[in-house]
């Protein structure tokens, strides 16, 4: 589409870029024929050396190139298929073999594994083009899995591989190219190509396609510049949108895998596959697949408009529903609704931004077509200011997270942030939740304008939201702290942003960087705050303030003082001080014992912003305060649903293997609204079945949305309508259609339990995975502040009276908050007990040996991990039959 034309590339550019390539390795592979969904081999690439982890599977064929690159193949064995199925299962399997207990996210042996499942690539049934990506996460230090659409996964499979492993670390920027028709893999250095994904994917589609039409046979994995200075990098998987004549991007968002990718200095992985047709999986019973596909296509055609409107607006259709049911996270999950939500409702995006009537499927054959986009969207900030671009979105998570949760109710800023998240390669969900946390810290006065160098961190400043990302790109500024995630923010704020105690003020020698003592709440930034700094300021020219109302009020003062003209605007940026004599420099290890309120210098190689100024530790009370509302678990930020009133969803988040993502269980309506799972056992059953069912999508290469974002007419007569049994049967049909084996709920749950339990043990192996690691922040369980309580006072008073049996009359709000929260913590504890029991785990969350035997996962390497924990907890089973596991 001609509107998205600001970054088109010339042939000369491409020639110049190609000329700068240097070939590091070439590998030729034998063509294969897919047998019932499998190629029975995976592709292994290591850059900068091969890694002989003791249990790494051997290469069956390989070639070594320059700079210690290795390209080779590994067998996909019957054991792998039986126990791990594919997709996420293969990802975790390879990752387990590639790393050791000491591996960190930036260790060269950390392995990025991309695997479509055995059903991936079907074109007859909607939503069958997904890949799963696994790696050790920079945010959590444990394995993370993230699912993604786009063409890469199916093309990888049709090129001849069930998985791709990327290990090692390159010294130079490289591009890996897999040619699925010529049967070659090449690795080239690539110094000149862009890094930001919306440009790079265009460049590489142009470079590797032989004709314009050939671009639809190309898919590119890339990750933009912000991932390099943050822990929230995502991977963009591209597909060519013929109608728009531009690339589209789908994200493997969660857990910072893009950060790992860029750390390895991989600029892109490109695949080309020509000759797509519907039977490439070599299915066993094609008729079953076709019949299931026809059923679902009909439902989409007849029911979508009256149900979820996925084809018009995609997942963003639920923004206003969430608001109506008090579930839309607002101001860092404090509330579930906001009067300004109509400004960001799906109607607004449909009418003003999102292009209609285009077949927006992220893989062929998806009649749900939810991958919506806004075309010709003109950017206001950053390096692409003034460019007209195609924004992939908004999806619900982006609109809720970058909108209401950070307090922004301006659809333009939401879409702009959506665009920059994608092209810079950062996860929209983490970006939103970590910004919301930083904003709340600011509102509470835990840090101030001096700490942000003038960046306004009050709720909802759309400019700030984008500026934080621009700072992640430059690697300088407060945005770098924000981009490290909430867990690191808490540490950094606690180490650096405390107040100097009066007894230590003399150490500052008159330096007044901490002179703004009042938090700024709900008012324009007083110009006095800037005036105070003007004498000791340099001005950072920035862009995009022009129509920002709040900053407009201070603009006059700043421009006047800076002697600038009206076309630009500025943020006040305090000059970094010279080192102050008399303030000692201490090591990181010494920080723990350093007195609160006493300034010191230290350094943080991971986050050097503020390294040059004195740090001051916060009080223990302030540190505890942040723990209450920092919405992360295991290091991963919560996704964008308010879970406070649903105990089952609190569990769904906190007990999610990789961290709080809703892709294991989304039970809010079943629990809170329908009250269909009232007992702990009911909730535990739901927290077993749904995570297993959704794990299964990740094993097979399927998208969740066509399962329950359209419901068949007769679903209302089903005994368990939430499971959408007719669609579950469709999945069993297409499974049988491809693999030739009948499948039932029991065999499906068994497949998932194996991988799910394996993942839990993997997490344990990496030093997490016990009960204490599943503990959520208090805010996820209920109202932690008087403001939150009072906003829903009637509800909480009624609960106190009717459920807890305490009369709220005469109690102060603080007392009532405590009563509600104590009760909810006790409920949560009982829920965890019930879920662990249902999953076959001990009260400490360790999978029992008996469970491993039951699901036939009593593999020696898994038993070795759980054995010491079970013995310590007293859960190691006695009896002759267990002797062999000693």
């Amino acid at each position: 589409m001609s509107d998205n034309c600001s970054h088109k590339i010339s042939k000369d550019d491409i020639t110049r870029m190609k000329a700068a390539h240097k070939r590091l390795a070439t590998y030729s592979f034998e063509p294969t024929t897919i047998e019932r969904g499998y190629n029975n081999r995976s592709l292994y690439i290591s850059i900068g050396g091969s890694f002989d982890a003791s249990n790494q599977d051997k290469l069956t064929a390989s070639v070594s190139g320059e700079n210690c690159t290795v390209i080779g193949e590994k067998a996909v064995t019957p054991h792998m298929k039986d126990k791990f199925v594919g997709g996420k299962g293969f990802g975790l399997y390879h990752l387990w073999k590639a790393i050791s207990e000491g591996t960190r996210w930036n260790s060269p042996e950390n392995d990025i594994v991309i695997s479509p499942g055995p059903l991936a690539g079907i074109t007859q049934y909607p939503g069958a083009g997904k890949s799963l990506v696994c790696a050790i996460s920079p945010l959590t230090g444990i394995p993370v899995d993230s699912n993604v659409g786009g063409f890469f996964g199916p093309f990888l499979k049709f090129a001849g591989f069930d998985a791709l492993e990327l290990q090692g670390k390159s010294d130079e920027e490289i591009i890996i190219f897999i040619d699925g028709n010529e049967h070659t893999v090449t690795i080239d250095t690539a110094p000149l190509e862009a890094v930001d994904s919306h440009i790079l994917a265009e460049q590489l589609s142009e470079m590797y396609a032989s004709t314009h039409e050939d671009k639809e046979n190309i898919s590119v994995i890339s990750c933009g510049r912000a991932s390099e200075n943050s822990y929230i990098g995502c991977l963009n998987f591209s597909f060519w949108d013929k109608r728009r004549d531009c690339v589209r991007l789908k994200q493997a968002g969660r857990g910072g895998i893009g950060t790992v990718f860029r750390h390895k200095k991989i600029k892109a992985v490109v695949i080309r596959y020509r000759g797509l047709h519907g039977d490439l999986n070599n299915p066993s019973k094609k008729g079953l697949i076709n019949a299931a596909g026809v059923r679902l296509h009909k439902e989409m055609a007849h029911l979508d408009t009256s149900q979820n409107n996925m084809r018009k607006i995609g997942t963003a259709n639920i923004i206003e529903v969430m608001d109506r049911y008090d579930l839309l996270p607002t101001h860092n999950f404090q509330f579930g609704a906001h009067p300004e939500t109509p400004k960001i409702s799906s109607k607004v995006f449909i009418e003003k931004y999102v292009t209609q009537n285009l077949p927006d499927g992220c893989w062929y054959g998806c009649s749900m077509s939810c991958a919506k986009a806004a075309d010709g969207f003109e950017l206001r900030t950053g390096p692409y200011k003034g460019h007209k671009v195609c924004v992939d979105g908004p999806e619900y998570e982006n609109a809720a997270g970058l909108g209401s949760n950070v307090g922004c109710f301006d659809p333009h800023w939401i879409l702009e942030a959506n665009f920059y998240c994608d092209t810079y390669g950062v996860d929209t969900i983490s970006m939103a939740t970590m910004t919301a946390f930083a904003e709340e810290c600011y509102q509470r006065g835990l840090y101030n304008l001096n700490d942000t160098e003038g960046l306004d961190m009050r709720w909802g400043n759309g400019y700030t939201l984008n500026e934080l990302m621009h700072q992640m790109v430059t690697g300088d500024g407060f945005g770098v702290i924000v981009g490290k995630g909430i867990r690191q923010q808490k540490r950094i704020f606690a180490e650096r942003f405390g107040k100097v105690s009066p007894e230590y003020e003399h150490m500052l020698g008159g330096y007044v960087w901490n002179d703004i003592k009042e938090p700024v709440i709900d008012m324009p930034i007083p110009t006095s705050h800037f005036n105070k700094n003007l004498e000791n300021c340099e001005f950072l020219q920035s862009t995009g303030y022009d129509d920002n109302k709040i900053l407009g009020e201070i603009k006059g003062t700043i421009l006047e003082n800076a002697g600038a003209n009206n076309d630009s605007a500025y943020i006040a940026k305090p000059t970094k001080p010279e080192k102050i004599e008399g303030i000692p420099t201490i090591t990181r290890e010494e920080i723990a014992d350093w007195p609160v309120g006493k300034p010191y210098y230290s350094d943080d190689p991971d986050c050097s912003y503020t390294n040059s100024r004195p740090w001051v530790k916060m009080t223990p009370e302030q540190v505890a305060e942040m723990e209450e509302f920092g919405m992360e678990n295991k290091g991963l930020e919560y996704s964008e649903y308010l879970m406070k009133e649903s105990l089952a969803q609190q569990g769904g988040y906190a007990l999610c293997n990789k961290g709080p993502q809703h892709d294991e269980a989304w039970l809010i309506f079943m629990d809170m609204v329908n009250n269909q799972i009232p007992t702990f056992e009911d909730k535990a059953e739901a927290l077993h079945y749904f995570p297993m069912f959704r794990t299964w999508f990740g094993l097979l290469g399927l998208c969740k949305l066509p399962w329950n974002d359209v419901t068949p007419v007769n679903n209302k007569y089903e005994k368990e309508p939430a499971k959408i049994p007719e669609h579950v049967q469709n999945y069993f049909d297409i499974y049988e259609g491809v693999l030739g084996k009948r499948h039932t709920e029991v065999s499906m749950v068994r497949q998932s339990e194996r991988v799910y339990t394996f993942q839990r043990i993997f997490i344990l192996r990496m030093g997490s995975g016990q009960r204490k690691h599943d503990t959520p922040p208090s805010r996820s369980l209920g109202p932690i502040t008087e403001g939150e309580y009072l906003s829903r006072e009637e509800r909480y008073d009624a609960q106190m009276k009717d459920i807890i049996g305490i009369d709220p009359c005469g109690k102060s709000t603080a007392e009532k908050v405590k009563i509600i929260m104590d009760y909810r913590w006790s409920q949560f504890k009982q829920l965890v007990d019930a879920v662990y029991k249902r999953r076959g785990w001990t009260p400490n969350g360790i999978p029992k040996l008996e469970k491993l035997i039951e699901i036939e996962m009593d593999l020696p390497e898994l038993v070795a991990v759980i054995r010491p924990y079970l013995k310590e907890e007293g859960y190691w089973p006695q009896g002759e039959e267990y002797k062999k596991y000693e």
Binding site: Q307, R324, W666, N674
Partner: protein, 69 residues
């Protein structure tokens, strides 16, 4: 004597004569497009919500079939 109630989604809910399904929906602000209604395990079609009244002690299920995230 206790006030008469129905059971709505496993919780007690005040009963009054002539209480229809539509009235409950309005009171509860249930306006989601995909809702299933059952009274004592019997499915009630959407076109009958306006005219279907509940009796004291009825077990009413109003189930939102909502895919969510």
């Amino acid at each position: 004597m206790n006030e008469p109630v129905i059971t709505l989604n496993n919780r007690p809910y005040p009963f009054k004569e002539g209480l229809t399904i539509s009235a409950i929906m309005t009171e509860r602000k249930y306006d989601f497009p995909a809702i299933i209604v059952r009274i004592n395990n019997k499915h009630i079609e959407e076109e009958d919500w306006q005219t279907t009244t509940v009796a004291a002690d009825d077990n009413v299920e109003i189930i939102h079939v909502f895919g969510g995230g």
